[in-house]
Symmetry: C2
Subunit: 159 residues, 2 copies
């Protein structure tokens, strides 16, 4: 099963390696990971989407929670979160298809960030459904390269 | 010095852990990391922003390049790339400030993704300068929580 964990960690060397090794130990496959700064320069947030059996992921979560460097860990599937992902896609384009592609970009509110002779590059941020939707629509045109950020998330409401 | 490396890797367990351990070995501090899917389900792209002395990072780059699981590695500071980052920010808000905040969001083209009694949550995707700019503007209002995806990047042009 796919699950997404969000960990607030102290900015110390070796945190990422520990997390990755632990996931490997339990055969939990890391599908995506986003590690970045937070409002506090001493703290970073690591959001990881893992695939594996439920008990293994529970084990990973418990282990991470037990680490001194981990301040807080949340299972994003269990709580109320706003989640977003960023994707950049370079898609093949010939002149006849430009109009069709532009319509797709407009529907998904994707922004053009670059253009070549034979390709056009767009970015989109949205929930996973929207990102997956755009990718599906662009596959027939030929996706030349793609880069996804992995999911990031914040709790809903004031908390 | 800050440098950003982008690695195309085979989807095999342990890649992330190897990378993270290697960076630690050379005292190259990982500032952010984004690992996600690409157009090829067997391949993922890992973009990492590291801080450390130049020779250490060169060493890390050479080591990563020597790994079987690493297909290609690029130094984003050396080539022509479009880079983007996604950020979500929950910022404090009282009624009198709503108008000012909305103006800032409009200037930066940040999207409101949630609202509570005392806070408002926005997302923004852009280059690091724009993301840092928005954060700077919002600090006086009180940033309650923040999550950054780390940089993602694709080569400019058709390549």
């Amino acid at each position: 099963m796919k699950r997404t964990l969000s960990a607030l960690c102290k900015n110390e060397p070796g945190v990422l390696a520990k997390m990755a090794l632990e996931c490997e130990k339990y055969d939990a496959n890391i599908l995506s990971l986003a590690a970045g700064e937070t409002e506090n320069p001493k703290v970073s947030r690591i959001v990881l989407c893992v695939d594996g059996n439920d008990e293994a992921i529970d084990e990973v979560e418990r282990y991470l929670d037990s680490l001194d460097v981990v301040i807080q860990i949340d299972d994003l599937s269990r709580k109320d979160f706003v989640d977003r992902e960023l994707v950049m896609i370079k898609v093949g384009m010939d002149r006849e298809q430009t109009g069709q592609l532009m319509q797709i970009f407009e529907v998904f509110r994707a922004n053009v960030v670059g253009m070549g002779q034979k390709t056009i590059t767009v970015e989109l941020s949205g929930d996973q459904e929207r990102v997956d939707g755009l990718i599906k629509m662009l596959i027939p045109y030929g996706i030349k390269s793609m880069c996804r950020s992995g999911m990031i998330a914040l709790k809903r409401g004031d908390e």
